[in-house]
Subunit: 319 residues, 2 copies
Amino acid sequence: MSEKYCIGADVGGTTIKLAVISTEGEIVKKWEIPTDTSERGKHITRDINITIDNTLEELNLHKSSILGIGAGAPGFVDSSTGYINEAINIGWKHFDFGVELKQLTGLNVWVDNDANLAALGENWLGAGRGVKNLIAVTLGTGVGGGIIANGEILNGANGTAGEIGHVTVKTTGGAPCNCGRSGCLETETSATAIVRKAKEAIVKEPHSALSSIKEITAKDVFVTAKQGDIAAQQILSDVTETLGLALANLTVAVNPNKIVLGGGVSQAGDQLLQPLKDAYSKHCLPRAAEACVFELAELGNDAGVIGGASLVKQYSNEQ
Amino acid sequence: MSEKYCIGADVGGTTIKLAVISTEGEIVKKWEIPTDTSERGKHITRDINITIDNTLEELNLHKSSILGIGAGAPGFVDSSTGYINEAINIGWKHFDFGVELKQLTGLNVWVDNDANLAALGENWLGAGRGVKNLIAVTLGTGVGGGIIANGEILNGANGTAGEIGHVTVKTTGGAPCNCGRSGCLETETSATAIVRKAKEAIVKEPHSALSSIKEITAKDVFVTAKQGDIAAQQILSDVTETLGLALANLTVAVNPNKIVLGGGVSQAGDQLLQPLKDAYSKHCLPRAAEACVFELAELGNDAGVIGGASLVKQYSNEQ
């Protein structure tokens, strides 16, 4: 009974996902609770503590068998201290999340941003299993990224390493980004960007099949493109060209063995992957491109909690 | 007398630079020998062995006080094995340099490419001293790069990490690059690129002061720009804009504390740095830009041998 367990906690704007995972990678329990964003998210740490206590009791696990909590939040996180500079969706700003969670639970706590946790999760139990140099890209409402180099997540000088959604891809005429600039990868290749481009296309091409769709989604654009609609095809061609170039340029920096694509947009599968790989190959240093394969993420919404547990597994050894 | 020493050996197309450096960073001796590129560079390993033997004798140092040799070559190097895939200027192709040098000298040998060694050198004793996350850029005939993240040089899947000269900056109409593609950072911002742009400018702007210069150099373009020549200023404005954007985009991947600029072009100092920093700030995620300072390289041509010695210092501990 000397088995040890790690807890992952992925704090999102709507729910907090949690899991208890053995150091061997067995998911013992996975659950979620709503995120209470009232009063600038001040009750979240307490809620996490209560639900962990209840779950450990239910699982008949003593705290001494828990190596710690690996927690993630969307935003700018100082991973060395667990300090959240800002996590807009949660309401946190200048919040000492790591320290507070440690005090409340009595457990060791490591914190990183959600995209880095997703990369760590795929690196442990998903499509990037055991890959030493990995770029993980999440194409959803925004574009998130996590980079693993020499087997370690890159955090950089102040926790912004791997923020590949903010690679500048349009120096003029780009759409405004949440970061305060414009023309970021996120504003050109996220699901939000695809929808915006579809709405713009309808104005220019009223005969496009896109114009008959109410409440258009990124998925609609993929479906419509498959049916032969030129305007929809042009949007996806622009998106894959832009993303392929950005990933090619990240590749000569990091020289990954693998690029893993997750998030809602990646559910398009080969319809996304094939043109993306073509654009990538065209723009990438051949020797670096040869070393890299593309794969779809495997863990879906579980990537974050698995990555959180992976963080615990990795760092609790070093104590 | 238990002091230990590291040997750096930087193999270039014309000379091989060498140094004996103590683990404390004291340069005991620095010298160079010509590179014998005849017969596809097959005599180089022997020449290095002989000159090291002679120098150790002269310094009255026994081989047992030498921790190893850190050697660099320009080209694609597998740093895990010391195997040179190709080093065009030297004549090496598929050459097991690391193994051969180890056999001949009886010393431990670590090998990396010249730009990575320069980064390691600046990281140990130069402008990037002790910086945990560093991008080192060499702006010379070509554009080389080395990236240090979490305190370690990035080599990546097959030794092409940090090859930032091959970031694609022009997707159409770029100049051809040695890598077989076109529009690379190297073809747009190296000394060679500046000269090419000057020659193109003369054709379009025959009244430019550039047209009165024979055998134009990159330095001439800086001098002429300073004197108010619009064509020369436009060239430097294009170069710094392109380089600033590329470095901004690498910054959101790596989140460096510092970017160090070396190579001949960097001798322009503030005339390069100021517009470069302006372009960088404009295109970079503000939080990542805030964490990063620019500095000129300090070690000049010694960066490679110091980096080689640094490689020995770093890895000989791990044996």
